[in-house]
Symmetry: C2
Subunit: 440 residues, 2 copies
């Protein structure tokens, strides 16, 4: 058996504690798989005194000096489960430059400034693994990085935030509104006290940036991602989706496309969208995550599993730890970042999508003609129109509802169409606007 591979663990919250537990419980198995035992050299925490339950670890291993721990000669691998931009970035850059392998679950840092980490890894000749940063336990990044690199990925569509998926699944199942469903999620522990990062799509946007970077061999940052949350999704929207044989999901979408000059580009966005119930992503319920990948040769693929939680995240971290430990023993480094394609990121206005629009209109002749004229002026083609009496609410006599689904068009043209519709006399209100994905 080889000399132990020694880990510095940065952070000992839910995920960190679970990593410690799994390392302990599976030490014999892990040693057999790696060819050397894993040892914890130290655990950096903010406060030493905190009660950490019955964690199977020598308390003397805890330290508040993270940087000192990273710099120790007997540390081979740095595992970071602290999160946030600083001080994590400084620590990981230090570790990577010194040639220490890094395993991190830090999606915010990777999305904000992944380039700095990848550059430091290249400089130090070190491994940088981050499977746990997207879709928790689902082996997803490694397949994108490695298994599919003989193929050409055209589109990635994901449900990558468990909190919002729980909320939208509940709204679909029970007809509840957003506020009510969020309350349920909070009570059950699926939403944090401040749910902003989840419900406003920040968490999903960070993951979208990481996925797009890997899928398209292009550095995509969180700022490149168009982001809309789910706070404005109403029970009426969900009912409307259901009536169309659809459900509403918060999707992250990263797609190849071409700009006006025919140059290849990528568009990366996070927003709620209707998808048909027959789509594999529609069946992803509760707090599960799933990522649907389309590639030229492979066709359609989907990866499904738990996206969050201590155990699933720790499983992904440990998978990475085993990989980097094996690499160290073999004296090698895994495939590094590949950003050779360097495609420009297209603004949201140029992204191609479809809209589902519900209008409260005056119930009189000529309304459909006027509405259709607005779509035509913006060069947006209508796929279906459904016209019916107003479904109650404020509507009285003389009102009707018009439900329009478009063909694919640039988002800017669709948005401008909606803007002009709002200004029409005969349109009392635009009751809902939702993008439609996953169809033909």
């Amino acid at each position: 058996m080889n000399q132990p591979v020694r880990l510095a663990l940065l952070g000992c919250g839910t995920v960190g504690a679970e990593v410690v537990r799994l390392l302990h419980e599976q030490s014999a198995d892990l040693a057999a798989r790696i060819g050397a035992p894993l040892e914890i050299a130290g655990i950096a925490v903010r406060r030493l005194g905190r009660d950490r339950g019955d964690l199977p670890i020598d308390p003397a291993l805890f330290t508040t000096d993270a940087l000192g721990l990273i710099k120790r000669d007997d540390v081979d691998v740095v595992v970071e489960v602290v999160g946030g931009i600083e001080p994590a970035r400084g620590w990981l850059v230090e570790a990577l430059r010194a040639g220490k392998s890094v395993v991190t679950a830090n999606k915010a840092l990777l999305a904000e400034d992944g380039g700095t980490l990848h550059d430091a890894a290249a400089e130090g000749g070190a491994d940088l693994y981050y499977e746990a940063s997207v879709a928790g336990a689902i082996p997803l990044l490694r397949p994108l990085r490695e298994s599919l690199h003989g193929d050409r990925i055209t589109r990635v569509t994901g449900i990558v935030n468990g909190t919002t998926n729980f909320i939208l699944s509940a709204m679909h199942a029970t007809g509840a509104g957003f506020v009510e469903a969020l309350e349920e999620a909070t009570e059950l522990g699926y939403a944090e006290a401040d749910p902003t990062a989840d419900v406003e799509g920040f968490d999903a946007a960070a993951k979208a940036a990481i996925l797009a970077s890997l899928a398209f061999h292009t550095r995509v940052g969180a700022d490149d991602v168009h982001r809309e949350g789910i706070t404005e999704v109403t029970a009426a929207d969900v009912a409307s989706a259901k009536a169309m044989g659809c459900t509403i999901k918060l999707l992250c979408i990263a797609a190849r496309g071409a700009d006006g000059q025919g140059r290849e580009t990528v568009s990366v966005r996070v927003h709620p969208a209707m998808i048909p119930l027959s789509h594999p992503l529609a069946g992803v319920g509760d707090a599960f995550n799933a990522v649907f990948v389309e590639a030229d040769a492979a066709g359609q693929l989907m990866f499904y599993g738990r996206g969050a939680g201590g155990s699933p995240t720790a499983s992904a971290v440990l998978g990475d730890v085993v990989a980097v430990a094996r690499n160290r023993l073999a004296g090698v480094r895994a495939a590094s970042e590949s950003a050779y394609a360097d495609l420009p990121v297209r603004p949201m206005g140029e992204a191609l999508t479809r809209y589902h629009i519900s209008l409260d209109v005056a119930d009189r002749p000529g309304v459909l003609e006027a509405v259709a004229g607005v779509f035509a002026r913006h060069d947006v083609s209508i796929a279906t129109v459904r016209q019916g009496p107003a479904a109650g609410g404020a509507g009285g006599a003389g009102e009707a509802i018009l439900v329009i689904v478009t063909h694919v068009a640039p988002d800017a043209a669709l948005a401008a169409t909606v803007g002009e519709l709002r200004g029409l006399d005969i349109v009392r209100s635009v009751a809902s606007v939702l993008r439609v994905e996953g169809g033909s």
Copy 2:
């Protein structure tokens, strides 16, 4: 840019031709991802004269001397898409012993005698990759081999044969019988002229052996796999499953368990089974494949995609080619076979499962008591009983139908129960027996 990595391609059928096409179309992208161009050194085929359409390749590269091609000094990587045991085994052993990396899609060979290949790879210090051998384009083996190796897999349940899934999906959707659905599959090109390997479960059993070997770090061969096909699944079985909120799928199941002495074992089996419509595998339609993995820390995972076809299989082959080419350039070898656990394979009789049994019985008092007595004698616990009038067919007055679903029990006890039921006077016939999986 580095010197080219040179490939010997063995076989040029549907998959081989697609590999040639993808190598040609994506040569610039592949070179960028690998850090060196890929070149085809030669293609071994059975007959030189065959018309190969407009394949973008110099006809001078074709040869009938596979072994000579493999032995050439300028060949770095051998890609085998011929299939079958011999001569493929001899060729691959020769290549691996000579230190040449091997990428193969040959599930039959891996299931029959994977150990010989792994031993040759270890001897020659060469890479052996076979992502395409199970579930076509779905990145599945690499995640099992690498991403989840920090975790403990407890169970793998897969739909790994597209032909049978197409047939069973059609039976579920239309109520058709097996023969009729097989005819449709043949017409649409989803079933071969001789469908035996698919419908009798041989193909799925080979894949089950490969999956079990990887998941449980144990060499499992095709002979270790209990195998039942779908030829005896009737329209009545499918209707019965539907009535229970289930559907019938041909499942491959590899599960950890314990023998009578508490020693850890694995059981590996392929058979049709009912699964609840709410199970993620139930929604896997047409010829798609999916593999559902349960692990201690990761929880439930599912991998979904196209399991067969020239393009998806070629995509998986190419992903492996890129990986082994990168390894060669880096002068390293990937994680080799891990068979350290070496768990005993439990016979089918000890596998734990549940049965769904339909009996045509005499409609008179005491029948249920007599039937229940048989279950009790074999220590099989009954979960639900549904009793009703005979549903037509041969049944007349004085007959009833009894539908029983058991709790989990050893397969031998369940089979013995059914055997004794067949002998009861009051049981006119055992209308159907199906295992039930995927429930609690």
